[in-house]
Symmetry: C2
Subunit: 398 residues, 2 copies
């Protein structure tokens, strides 16, 4: 019999996808170049040449079995070693091969990490604003995702609300810095405070509380900022990474879980991921994609365009009177809408061919997200539309 639970999900459409489809339909009518589509986080800068060159070289040179044969279930061993070495060198955390589990991007990394350190019925806490797929990633493990309300002053962690929500049933905390949708990178102070707080709660409750650190935007930092590497601050950290944004290869589905060598049971957590994968239909990312990504660990696509775009948009938003926190990284910005109902605000924006995502889907009301992973030329043209939109619709804003 058809599973009624999954069938019921079909009626609830993702707001982001709905807007993206609207943008595509509008583009077909008025020309896609005239639609200012800020809906989707699909990287716009090309993959580094080295990635494509490596794929081509591997397919020309390697024999079929080493290239296309089964990977070990934790991932290609040499690739895992290279990931460990790169992370150790860059962040000073002494990972070894045994701490790395290769995944199909961050979605798969979180699916494994969450199952490693929770069981059905446990609580997992995350912080608004948050990526709405977390509801699925965590909820479908059988654990409950609880969301701490946003700290709208700066979108760092709302520690008072967090403390109120904390309880013995919490086995993991899921964080995302730099953050989708706010663009905020947590300060070192925030991460230190989080680590100290969780260390104390671990003692109090007598069980571990893991940080699941979702870090696909780690390499995209602005204003010369260094993004604090979460695992340096807290032993029980499972770092979930995706190469989707740093190498502009979201379609290739490649990432990893890195188990902090100081975590409880650090030597077996990656192997546990291998066991978990047997039950959820994951059996490694593509072998050739693993090998190619392993040659590009210390490079990125030319991601400078995202900072250029951010500056253009941020300056214009400030000029137009928006309340907005300057992003520390990612390719998102999260300004306050000019009326209470962000849905109404974003609906009006579509008249000006501006596709903005209302914040409700991210667990906070009254804001909107712009994903500025689009051409700078288009960003520039969109600013006039933005100006016309707010001057026409909100002439009396302060």
């Amino acid at each position: 019999m058809i599973n009624q639970d999954f069938k019921a999900m079909l009626s609830g459409k993702s707001k982001i996808r709905e807007l993206s489809e609207f943008a595509t339909a509008l583009g077909e009518k008025i020309g896609y170049e005239n639609v200012f589509d800020y809906s989707l986080g699909n990287p716009s800068v090309p993959v580094p040449d080295l990635y494509n060159e490596t794929i081509i070289r591997l397919h020309k040179q390697l024999a079929s079995m080493p290239l296309h044969g089964y990977s070990p279930s934790l991932g290609n061993t040499a690739v895992r070693g290279k990931v460990a070495a790169s992370l150790s060198k860059r962040f000073g955390v002494p990972y070894e091969t045994k701490h790395i589990f290769m995944t199909n991007g961050a979605a798969s990394a979180i699916a494994h990490a969450a199952r490693c350190v929770t069981k059905p019925g446990d609580d997992v806490i995350t912080f608004a604003p948050f990526f709405p797929e977390y509801m699925q990633y965590i909820g479908r493990t059988g654990a409950n995702l609880k969301v701490v309300p946003a700290n709208t002053a700066n979108f760092e962690i709302n520690f008072d609300a967090f403390d109120e929500m904390m309880n013995e049933n919490v086995q993991a905390v899921l964080i995302n810095t730099p953050n989708n949708p706010s663009g905020i990178a947590y300060s070192e102070q925030t991460i230190e405070r989080l680590a100290a707080y969780l260390a104390q709660k671990q003692k109090e409750y007598g069980h571990e509380i893991f940080i699941i650190s979702d870090e696909p935007y780690r390499e995209i930092a602005f204003d010369g900022r260094k993004i604090p590497y979460v695992a340096r601050y807290y032993d029980n950290t499972l770092t979930c990474y995706s190469f989707s944004k740093s190498l502009s290869i979201p379609g290739e589905r490649i990432g990893y879980v890195a188990v902090n060598p100081k975590a409880v049971d650090a030597d077996i957590l990656a192997i546990m991921c291998g066991q978990i994968s047997r039950g959820i239909g994951h059996n490694c990312p593509s072998s050739s994609v693993q090998m190619a990504a392993a040659e590009c660990l210390d490079i990125t696509s030319d991601i400078r365009v995202y900072e250029t775009n951010m500056n253009l948009i941020y300056d214009k938003l400030k000029e137009l009177g928006f309340e907005v926190i300057r992003p520390g990284g990612t390719f998102y910005i999260f300004p306050k809408a000019l009326e209470e109902d962000a849905n109404a605000f974003c609906d009006k924006a579509t008249k000006y061919h501006l596709i903005l995502v209302p914040s409700d889907t991210f667990g906070v009301k009254g804001y909107f997200r712009m994903a500025y992973c689009i051409d700078t030329e288009k960003v520039q043209r969109s600013l006039a539309a933005l100006e016309e939109f707010v001057n026409t619709e909100y002439p009396n804003r302060k």
Copy 2:
């Protein structure tokens, strides 16, 4: 806290993997060319040139976004269309794009198909001998996998035992033809009888019973045989396919679920797979691998070697007095061991550097599996070892 359930799994090692590791260790000692490793189903013939050429061409010619950007969550739409067209043409079932969901191989296909048509607590029936990972694939959905004892006369379905096990709680039947480990391809008569039986039970119980048809060996057929295409015989069929064996690309993780257009809710089952994938960390196979596989739908690797190997082994086994059913396809054969305890039999074989897998792991006692996806030259050399083994250890066999 670490999930104790998954942690406990670490002590239970897969017999096949254990044997494969033993073979590797033995190879390091005595030279790998002297180990007759029949443990693993890792295809030995190379990928078709067209696959590698397509990958190289795509990486040279396509822009970054269409090649490496996010695929739609059900898979690349053009690829799904090509899969549907190829299946329709080859098997006469009128699939359309909407019936195809792209997956990371058959493991992922079964993970999605099972969740589509069962809920936790439901029963799923399969037939011994069976691929032991089914325990994980089905058990981890929350459904119960029940195994019908083998029909050792010919390894077709044991219908009496099946009927005894059947009950209202059964929502799906998982079959695998051609079969791992027996090598048997179910006859058309068997499939017709299964279809008629299930159609009658659907009426009796008042709910659908789906066939989940795991078909990675569909293209590897012997003696000029045509493998009956299961979905032609039963409307509520979800066909789970992998290109791992037909194109020798198990590491690339690519396959699909094909929903029979005549199935109940046929128009929404693939979309449901997309919803399911959100909760299990699957988000499509690699975009470039999808596109390359789509160019190779109607070809295979040079799989004739498997039939050559089968004939060599089958003839020798018969000559040596083994009880063995002639395989109809795959690259497996499943003879009866020469003593009751297949584990003891396979242990003794290792003295002759023959790595055979005892049948207990496949849900039947007293047999062993040989995976003959290895070089024919090695198969030939192994036959002398096999002869020496049985003549020395079982001189008085009949």
